[in-house]
Symmetry: C2
Subunit: 497 residues, 2 copies
């Protein structure tokens, strides 16, 4: 066996453990009884230990280093794989084992601390924990010793190749172009109340419609399925087993519909990746941002379009004849595209959503540039909220305590949420040159859109970087103006005409 | 670390792999999409390989052998555990690796062969495969080199300590006592047709009643749950995560009800085992027979009793008011206890069921004593059927081809099915001296019965042998006459008075 094959052998063994842990994770999130978890944590700990052992073994380290020194023996994809392996390896072995363990314990406890703090408006009780998390991350970045700015190390974790320079440019564009536009839109807010939005929609009926949506989006149910969970998510072990969840709020039918469409976007990406990557480190979607671009494409560009509801409102009315009696497409299209200034990111509409992300990016950047400390967060948060959206949180849970991410150690992650929508818009304007989207949507041919995405984006898995994909598909580097253009076109039409 | 602790370390690691594989198995049986399975088989193969490697490693072998030679350093339970380990180890390492692999492949294919043969009445196409399976098993028994009769080796696999001598005595009792009694009962068969038995019962409503049954049997839903699958089964990783399935046939409501009660019996056993055995080889129920005694106790002794339906028919009538209008407890009690001569084991009633098992036992015994060969099976099967139940199969699928077991290599397994009911009866007559079952059932206090079973049977897991449990609980060795007595009392009352 040559060195690359030996490397593959180790990867395959680790993949088997990870496969099993992934299935256990699905079970945990969707049905395991609460009594299962203590023992489960022990058993998963044992498996994680084995994966870590494999992926830090001296055999593995030698192979990775050997292969990096013999680039000429590798194909482009193999080299990309080995470089990915090296990056992960460096991050794993450069941090002292005891600090990894301490940090792991901290993160387990901190999420409970955060839950408590959020429920009790207890920022003072939580800020110490958050400061510890930030300190650990600053320290880990030092250990890595990469020749990069600290925050860039975190950003690159979630979006390969994207730096503060790129994100500054992105968010500056949003600040200049979008913030004033949003103010204009919100000032013109129509006060047409639509009581059907919060009417009662039975969960089992919502499920019927979400099942219909799987067919509409040509989701392959031989290779996947839909279930229910508290927080909607997409899950996969390989392209032939991709599942997603939605949730049914009986007083807000849009929640299950748009969660299902969003997750279908993620799930279709995973289903359409070439199976040849299964046993490599190039399996799965290439980045958080590209992944989110697919879910947002489905959710916003397709799912909140007028063509979509022209085609599918009749079905929804059939499922809910009483609630949607007399509702026409125009009203419904407005309803699913309401814009308003609001405090909570996860409830924000398509237009104001990126502003919530911009705020978080700016704060994280200042934290890792050491311009501010944890104590400053609530004030800065509220000031920015007021500056960008004209509203000021009255409680911590409406402001700085609203998201789980920081308590889970997810720092540098938020920006990919806005990036996804911006990527989606750039892809959209390219796609429009080749496909008649409105027609495909109206004739129930979303399969054609899927095919386009498969050929241009999906099938490559992680074998290309996000930047490479965007450049090759759109003939251009990432350009935030497409996103601005998309939102301005849509919301001018909706609100300013 | 002393040797026993080192042994435990290896077991714990293997348990983590097995835990994960068990969860994957649950997912496979209850929801994985069909596309998932090819990759899944590969990944599970990888994990099985690791478990095998661990449990045949020279470290492990040395530890087991060392510990066996130092019995005095071990507690009774530890010694029992090491002996179990040794038995499995011997069976694993004494068979040449290539034959294990060949046999594994054969078994995978043979189940498909059997499915095809059964669907097409193609005994001739299947008998060669079955002969190969029998030959492999005969050969493996030779490899083990145990000082036992060949069929005893197989019997012991599923019911520790039970030999042909024991089973001969058991089935002779049934043959002498039960066969003539059954003929008498069947001759007196009441012809009172009950059309409600096969009325249409909506699956979702059946589910509602089965959910109610979980409460009736005091099943702890914080540590378990119910789902749907093609063949009902119970599944567990440890006492705090025990789940079971049932299935809903819309034209036969008894199927879901008694499957649920049966599986609740298995599931309650697993839930009530002491968690201290989690990391040992003494976790889980002690044998197939004892397990089946718990499910049959629930299903037949509780679930088909008059007290049970006096208490719960009102609820069932509430769920199915139209179908069960005018049905009274006496009629319903008769309905759930119909006895008739029938060809198919899995559809047989409580009274004739053991006769189906006796027939299989006698045939397997002759096969492994080399008194007959595979070619003789259909004729012998049909002759015995005629002799014991007075009916003669007209097709292979009604006779020798009906069960999946042999094609899956499960030889020596069938007898435990009858043994379970017989154990249950023996436990029942002991329990009756201490508890007023009818009263506990009528006052919705099955929890008390569960407590009794926990103290006497469940909590010990596999730390005691089946024979030991029976002896300690009932103050007697296994005695088939309790089973005969139970059936005669019940069916005399039902059919002969």
């Amino acid at each position: 066996m040559n060195q690359y094959d030996q490397f593959k052998e180790i990867i395959k063994q680790a993949k088997a453990y990870e496969y099993a842990m992934t299935v256990v994770g699905w079970d945990s999130s969707t049905e395991a009884p609460k009594g299962a978890f203590a023992r489960r944590a022990e058993m998963m700990g044992e498996l994680r230990k084995q994966v870590l052992k494999l992926k830090t073994s001296s055999d593995y380290q030698h192979l990775v280093n050997y292969l990096l020194q013999h680039e000429d023996e590798l194909s482009t994809e193999e080299l990309r794989e080995i470089k990915k392996a090296k990056k992960t390896l460096d991050k794993t072995i450069k941090i002292p084992q005891n600090e990894i363990i301490e940090y792991g314990k901290l993160i387990q406890l901190s999420q409970k601390d955060w839950e408590f703090a959020k429920a009790n408006e207890d920022w003072d009780g939580f800020k110490g924990t958050l400061a510890k998390i930030i300190d650990y991350n600053r320290k880990f970045i030092d250990y890595y010793g990469f020749d990069m700015e600290p925050y860039d190390v975190l950003l690159d974790d979630y979006e390969e190749g994207m730096t503060m320079k790129d994100f500054d440019q992105f968010f500056n564009t949003l600040r200049v172009e979008l913030v004033p536009f949003i103010k204009e839109v919100l000032a013109n807010k129509k006060v047409d109340e639509k009581p059907y939005i919060n009417a009662k929609y039975k969960a089992s009926k919502q499920k019927e419609f979400c099942t219909y949506l799987m067919d509409v989006f040509a989701f392959n149910q031989d290779k996947g399925g839909m279930k229910t969970s508290v927080h909607p998510f997409t899950w996969n072990t390989h392209p032939s087993d991709v599942r997603f969840t939605t949730r049914y709020l009986e007083n807000y039918v849009f929640s299950s519909i748009f969660a299902a469409i969003h997750e279908l976007g993620h799930a279709t990406y995973e289903q359409q990746i070439d199976e040849k990557y299964n046993d490599t480190l190039l399996s799965g979607g290439t980045s958080m941002g590209i992944h989110e671009s697919q879910s947002r494409f489905y959710e916003n560009i397709i799912g909140r379009s007028k063509s979509f509801w022209k085609t599918h409102l009749p079905k929804l009315k059939k499922v809910f004849p009483r609630q949607l009696k007399d509702v026409d497409v125009d009203s419904f299209y407005e309803a699913v595209n309401r814009a308003e200034a609001s405090f909570i990111r996860v409830e924000a509409d398509e237009l104001t959503y990126p502003i919530h992300i911009m705020l978080r990016y700016e704060i994280e950047k200042m934290l890792f540039n050491k311009e501010i400390e944890v104590d400053d967060l609530p004030q800065i948060w509220n000031d920015k909220m007021e500056e960008y959206l004209g509203i000021r949180p009255k409680t911590y849970s409406e402001g700085v305590l609203q998201d789980v991410h920081w308590s889970a150690g997810l720092l540098g992650y938020f920006p990919t949420y806005a990036l996804g929508s911006a990527y989606a818009a750039q892809l959209y304007y390219t796609m429009k040159k080749e496909l008649n989207l409105d027609e495909l949507i109206s004739t129930n041919n979303i399969k054609e859109i899927n095919n386009w995405l498969q050929e241009k984006v999906h099938k490559f898995g992680a074998s290309k970087s996000p930047k490479q994909i965007l450049k090759e598909v759109t003939n251009e580097d990432f350009n935030a103006m497409y996103y601005v253009r998309f939102l301005k076109e849509k919301y001018t039409e909706l609100y300013l005409k």
